[in-house]
């Protein structure tokens, strides 16, 4: 789960991580009022859940209230990678002496929380990672110790010489780690962390993502979720035990397992087709889940053919077949379906399907080719 910058800044404030003053604004009037109250140079920042807003013109510096209003007019309502900007943050534009990058994330290799720090902050950190990997310090945090004073200080000394800055950074790093742990985050990032003219460290931009698997115990985080329309559909699917991502093709896919679902899409594309979605019905599927999945596929008007690819393991093929028959009885399905079933209880599943005269194919490649043939024949 992702949250907006303004929400991350609020969490930082709760943890006493220093952040410049700011006001969240939904209208131009609010922008004007905020700029007037802050009463100095401000930065107006689009609040969207996609990256690259800076390049898209979603962040503007304003020296006067008038400039802030102009910036607000330009940014509010603009489109950034398909997201409409509904709100902006008007924030104190502090004097910046130098910019740093610091972030925490999960590291698969050390199986721990990884602290990353670089004196080359402010720019695309991924570029630095590629071109000058040594410029990014990566320190795995021992989960039994957490972020100790000495470890935070050790990282701070990699960025700063001045002991006053080291002490400020040590404090910030410990709080970032605590925030990460307390909220079951998957990313806590400050980019840039800056030295202001008063030799004070401040977090100028904050990013936080959270572990979806842990949201059940993070009620105060979960309520921050502001899903887009597409995401709402994905979340509704998730509640039915389905993982759904809408794409732009016309072959609706229903598959069990993420890897097999990706491979199915790969095979469709390989033979020249276009998948309309990623849809993983997961393990222990009940007939109900299959009905929900069919509903979801039929709700996308782009879908012209449905390809079902099931390899039973924890999923039972008879459950899938029964669900499919139920769905066909309940829904008006007026498009062709191609079915491939194997694995647990496959014989029984195939028998049920055959009874209803639905087309069955023997392999994934055949299924993909047949689906493409059907689309082209429409």
């Amino acid at each position: 789960m992702k949250i907006h910058e303004y929400q991350a800044r609020n969490l930082f404030r709760q943890y006493d991580i220093p952040v410049p003053d700011d006001v969240l604004c939904y209208t131009i009037d609010e922008v004007e009022k905020a700029a007037r109250e802050l009463n100095r140079m401000v930065v107006v920042k689009a609040q969207v859940l996609v990256g690259g807003r800076g390049k898209a013109g979603g962040v503007k510096l304003a020296k006067t209230v008038e400039e802030a209003v102009v910036a607000g007019q330009k940014i509010l309502g603009m489109d950034i990678k398909g997201c409409t900007v509904e709100k902006v943050l008007v924030a104190d534009a502090v004097e910046i002496k130098k910019e740093y990058y610091v972030g925490l994330t999960i590291d698969r290799n050390t199986k721990s929380v990884l602290f990353m720090a670089s004196a080359e902050g402010g720019v695309e950190i991924e570029e630095v990672a590629k071109e000058n990997p040594d410029a990014i310090h990566k320190i795995p945090i021992d989960p039994d110790l957490g972020m100790t004073d000495f470890m935070a200080r050790k990282i701070a000394f990699k960025l700063f010489d001045d002991i006053s800055l080291v002490k400020q950074a040590t404090d910030i790093f410990k709080k970032m780690y605590q925030l990460f742990i307390d909220t079951d985050a998957s990313i806590v990032e400050i980019n840039p962390l800056v030295i202001t003219d008063g030799n004070v460290l401040k977090a100028i931009d904050g990013k936080m993502n959270f572990d979806d698997n842990a949201l059940y115990r993070q009620a105060s985080i979960e309520i921050m979720n502001e899903p887009t329309e597409d995401e709402k559909k994905e979340i509704a699917a998730k509640e039915s035990g389905l993982t759904y991502i809408r794409l732009d093709g016309n072959i609706g896919c229903m598959v069990n397992g993420a890897g097999l679902a990706m491979a199915s899409m790969d095979v469709i594309k390989h033979f020249g087709g276009e998948p309309a979605n990623f849809l993983d019905i997961g393990g222990s599927s009940s007939p109900k889940k299959v009905v929900d999945a069919m509903n979801l596929l039929m709700s996308d008007k782009n879908v012209k053919v449905i390809m079902i690819n099931i390899f039973g393991g924890i999923t039972r093929c008879d459950d899938v077949a029964n669900g499919l028959i139920t769905a066909l009885n309940q829904l008006k399905v007026d498009i062709p379906i191609v079915i491939r079933l194997s694995g647990t209880n496959a014989e029984e599943g195939l028998r049920i399907i055959a009874e209803h005269n639905l087309p069955i194919v023997g392999s994934l490649s055949e299924a993909a080719k047949e689906a493409i043939r059907l689309v082209k024949s429409l």
Partner: protein
């Protein structure tokens, strides 16, 4: 021979009285897996599929000598079950549960390391040494005893690959579903090492997917340590950037972790990569033929 498990491996099931635990215990018992005990607090003394149930892992291990545990416990309690297994004397834990919070796994894996206990999963289908022992939720009918070792981050894709291998007369030594979570147990490297040292394994199939750099690291390891032929497949070749594809680990971020990069990493060290699943058996056969020469 095989890796990790064989016909003598004594297994206990944590969460044996639950819906999934009970169902798959039946399947494992039917396959011949030595399921010697189940654990379900408060249900000690009961029988499930004729398997005795204990209140704790410690009790079960003391009574039966089980060395492997397989976990069917709801996600919020799964990490605690892993810890209990490790503390109770289990040497290999196989965690099937899906949706375990990542930080729970960070703590659990640190503890397992301290205890010298191995883990497969969480969020994995388990592992099988065909015709000897299946631990997890794998559909057993597709497997066949043989000399191909297989490891995969994806469950159902594994089944597809295995059925293709079996259809083509290529049996398996051991197949391991390692799971797709951000933090999990045994990974490509550790399994490659075991397959390399297993006399029965003649070729290795590695099934990867987009996200992370595990496949790149595996390629590096193969280059340095593996003499047996390896064939790879990477799922997600056509996945759009930045979209989350069901596995928490499968995020393409900023041009790294893509299928192209992973395919390139393997091909650079001479590991053939199938573009379609159906191409895998032929590549394995070719590798085995070359090895025989």
């Amino acid at each position: 021979m095989s890796i990790l498990i064989n016909k003598d491996t004594k297994v206990l099931v944590q969460g044996i009285t639950g819906r999934d635990g009970s169902f798959h215990t039946g399947k494992m018992v039917a396959y011949g897996t030595k399921i010697v005990a189940g654990v379900s607090p408060g249900k000690g003394g009961q029988l499930v599929h004729n398997v005795p149930v204990f209140n704790s892992v410690e009790d079960a291990v003391n009574a039966t000598g089980a060395t492997v545990s397989v976990i069917f416990i709801p996600a919020p309690y799964a990490a605690d079950a892993i810890l209990e297994a490790a503390e109770g004397g289990i040497k290999l834990v196989v965690c099937i549960s899906e949706g375990v919070p990542t930080l729970d796994m960070v703590k659990a894996t640190a503890y397992l390391k301290k205890k010298g206990v191995e883990l497969i999963g969480a969020n994995c289908p388990g592992l099988i040494t065909p015709e000897e022992s299946m631990i997890g939720i794998l559909p057993v009918n597709i497997f066949k005893k043989g000399n191909v070792g297989l490891m995969s981050r994806s469950g159902t894709l594994t089944y597809l690959m295995v059925s293709l291998l079996t259809q083509n007369g290529l049996g398996q030594s051991t197949c391991v579903g390692i799971g797709g979570d951000p933090v999990s147990g045994l990974y490509y490297q550790e399994l490659l090492e075991r397959f390399e040292n297993d006399p029965e394994t003649e070729a290795i199939v590695l099934i990867g997917e987009i996200g992370g750099d595990a496949e790149e690291r595996a390629a590096q390891y193969i280059k340095e340590h593996v003499t047996k032929p390896v064939v790879a497949f990477i799922a997600g070749q056509t996945a759009p950037q930045g979209k989350r594809m069901g596995h928490a680990g499968a995020i393409i971020s900023s041009g790294s972790g893509t299928a192209e990069e992973k395919i390139a990493a393997f091909e650079a060290i001479g590991v053939p990569v199938a573009r379609l699943p159906v191409e895998v058996p032929a590549l394995v056969k070719k590798a085995l033929d070359e090895r025989k020469k």
